[in-house]
Symmetry: C2
Subunit: 104 residues, 2 copies
DNA sequence: TATTTGCGCAACCTTTAGGTTGCATATATA
DNA sequence: TATATATGCAACCTAAAGGTTGCGCAAATA
């Protein structure tokens, strides 16, 4: 079941996991040490991130290192693109307002 | 209660609302016409978006026009920034790999 | 003034999310 | 080989999410 990446990043623990693995690939146990919950709870979050391809497992003996998948993360950037024009417009309008106020 | 923007954008209906109001400010009724659910359900989504400041109400008689707040959406952009370096690195590595393969 | 219309709030219901514990399996190690 | 360790899966529980209907209120309109 391919999960929604927006749902995936909605959870703060999952965002923290992404931040961690973006720096360095980690095993589930290594991740679990960083959080105040059981390893199984962390594993559930890993599963969600894995199912939507934000992280990728690399097996090494009995260890599994999960790697950050930048390509997938970039989809957020693409989604945001539709709003960039809006915020540039809004900020220009704010600039103009401030300039006008300053001139008075 | 200030809501989390990550939670706010996790719902597909709310993302659709954001796309709509980024183009043009709309009233709850106007939004509700676009979706296959009751006005009240849409209103709940509006409430979530409003509580986390992604949209701003402007009263006009008994109508309320909700405007997109680009500034708030930009926070999502800032969060993404921490991963930009990762994906540039990964893409460069991919480029190098492809170049190496081509040379062989 | 009486009525319609736009909106928000509250109560309720069902599904999903996120945590727990327990167990099975595969690999590493004594 | 026996044991310890890393991981994933399943069952279970509670809280929250997302939908519904019904209601109240304020503004527009007949």
């Amino acid at each position: 079941m391919k999960q929604d990446i927006f749902h995936a990043i909605a959870d703060p623990t999952r965002r923290a996991i992404l931040t961690l693995v973006a720096i360095q690939a980690l095993t589930p146990n290594a991740m679990a040490e960083k959080f105040d919950m059981t390893r199984q709870a962390v594993s559930k979050h890993i599963k969600v991130l894995h199912e939507c391809d934000l992280i990728k497992p690399v097996q090494s003996g009995r260890d599994i290192y999960y790697h950050f998948n930048a390509k997938r993360m970039q989809e957020f950037d693409h989604w945001l693109a539709q709003f960039r024009q809006s915020w540039e417009t809004q900020f220009n309008q704010l600039d103009q307002l401030l300039t006008t106020l300053k001139e008075q």
